[in-house]
Symmetry: C2
Subunit: 347 residues, 2 copies
């Protein structure tokens, strides 16, 4: 497992102080820029000693005395055990998060949890003061995650929720995007193209996100004077195959849809698949709009028209709030970032 011997003796702040001929306090002041002023000469001496000795502050000692770990946890609460890691979707946020954190010497700890998991490990992690804050991605809405949020609150760890509006009762802010706006954008885009028979493929109804996307579709349809038809609104549970099956079913109806708004790109692929099966042209015979904008969306043909959620922006924002590089508006518990219609070839 690599060199187990200790090849290089530890360099401590003491050593630096000695080398620079100053006190340990002075060195600390220089490193941390305060809380007392330092003279330029002293600063120079210390900095060159640090460089010469290749000194790096010990994170444990810092954490103990200074009560900062420079670590943020990303806590997920999924329905399936491995969900968080296997979604292209989440990748965008994690990438943004880690990069933003790295920029200021902070680190990301992964803490995946699945529904039904005991919250004790989370409690333990928080109470051991391992992290300065957490980014919570809980796919369910209140009250299903109350137990977790209570654990977080009780530990006193700063917390920012993502992909949900936060929680007023617990005082946690949330950074989210507007599923309603996304659903409306998608549906209106199809309406604007002249479609009157627009179907919906919905995600797993346990997800708030799935429910919101569906209801905004319904509202938009109805608002435009078209009656809602349950026959062409199907729950496909985020699943490609189910989406394909449901699409086939709907296309076999006496009055088949001419357009489909799928609540995820995956399901949109299922719909495209079905269209392909039947020799339908996209978008001429069947227009398809997805949601998420996963990488595949612009790799498969036809290129998928979809709704893009600002995952990266949300990641960056969450990181900044937690590391204190941006102040949160104490009034606004919810920050909603706009979604975007990405027009490609499928609609």
């Amino acid at each position: 497992m690599g060199d187990r011997s200790k090849p290089n003796k530890r360099v401590t702040l003491q050593d630096v102080a000695q080398r620079a001929g100053v006190s340990t306090a002075a060195v600390s002041y220089v490193i941390n820029g305060g809380p007392r002023p330092t003279s330029p000469e002293l600063r120079a001496r210390v900095l060159s000693a640090i460089a010469e000795l290749d000194y790096h502050p010990n994170s444990a000692a810092r954490g103990l005395r200074g009560r900062r770990t420079n670590t943020i946890a990303f806590v997920t609460y999924d329905f399936l055990p491995n969900e968080s890691f296997s979604s292209h979707y989440l990748g965008r946020m994690l990438t943004a998060l880690t990069r933003e954190l790295q920029q200021h010497g902070n680190y990301l700890l992964m803490f995946p949890l699945a529904t039904g998991d005991d919250p004790t490990p989370l409690r333990k992690m928080l109470k051991s003061e391992r992290v300065d804050g957490i980014v919570a991605r809980f796919v369910q809405d209140p009250p299903h995650t109350d137990a977790l949020l209570e654990v977080v609150q009780e530990s006193g760890t700063p917390c920012v929720c993502v992909e949900r509006p936060g929680d007023a009762r617990f005082g946690f802010p949330g950074i989210t995007y507007d599923d309603d706006e996304g659903g409306a954008l998608a549906t209106n885009h199809l309406l604007g193209l002249g479609h009157r028979r627009i179907a919906h493929l919905a995600g797993d109804m346990r997800y708030a996100t799935a429910r919101r996307r569906m209801s905004s579709y319904q509202r938009t349809i109805v608002a435009s004077g078209i009656p809602f038809d349950a026959d062409i609104s199907a729950v496909a549970n985020w699943d490609i195959r189910q989406a394909r099956g449901e699409t086939h079913r709907m296309l076999s109806l006496p009055d088949p849809p001419t357009a489909i708004f799928a609540a995820s790109d995956d399901m949109a692929f299922g719909a495209l698949h079905a269209a392909h099966d039947r020799g339908l042209r996209v978008p001429e015979d069947l227009a398809v709009v997805g949601f998420d904008d996963i990488p595949l969306a612009h790799q498969l043909t036809p290129l998928l028209t979809t709704i893009r959620a600002p995952l990266d922006e949300m990641g960056v924002r969450a990181a900044r709030l937690l590391t204190g590089h941006t102040k949160a508006d104490p009034e606004a518990l919810v920050e909603t970032r706009p979604v975007q219609l990405i027009r490609r070839d499928s609609a």
Copy 2:
């Protein structure tokens, strides 16, 4: 960002000792199971005091004195900045890793790096003694990652490489699977089905994995007495669209392939797409074998026949080696886990 005030006073080991009427040493012994024996009565008193006070050891203090952080870093070195997080492929390993670590109270720190990134942040992280060990996933082979490995070695941090054979010069063990075996399995499967005209879609040649999969394909073909034909061996760079394009090209040849071994499931989808475009039946007119077994492989139709790498096993194994729950065989610098042919519908 949640409650910033400190709602509950800190509970320390001192408090527990006082409450139980014993010394702090005794409490520590009980918690850590040693290094000295403790009597059952004392243990009981301490444990109930811990429970009553809801005590959780402070991780920073532990780290400082005990030199263990209970944290493992997952360090990636990718060609693209966000690659590590957006691959279904890696998800399997990360899930296995975190779950295994959580089991023993260890945590996973994500540390993604992209080619060309300055290794300084890694150096800094390691020298600050933030982690007990690292799992290194460096997609390139030596000598491209020497600079990074040097940094790791110099820091003295235990390191296990995954998806490559480790590195003898640095003394790091590796846990990997056999790309050659996978390529041979796939190719032989197609040969066994009677195919004589077998094409290959190769990944990005900068990846050792892509090169190995390609050369084992070539060797297997040639070993069976079929001459290697460069016209039906194409580099598609892991890209779906390129794979589709190359498949079209090959199918237009005077002597088109009847089977394709794609070095990744993604590229296999590209091939399937092309077959679909031309109205070819799979596997009758064109047989396709992929590599990786990503979730999509058993969600799209036809279900993809593919090679499955034991990512989860590798993750678990790496975790155990680093946390000391399994001893590494000091002789064997490489542990190669078997791959598996998953027979489904496409070949």
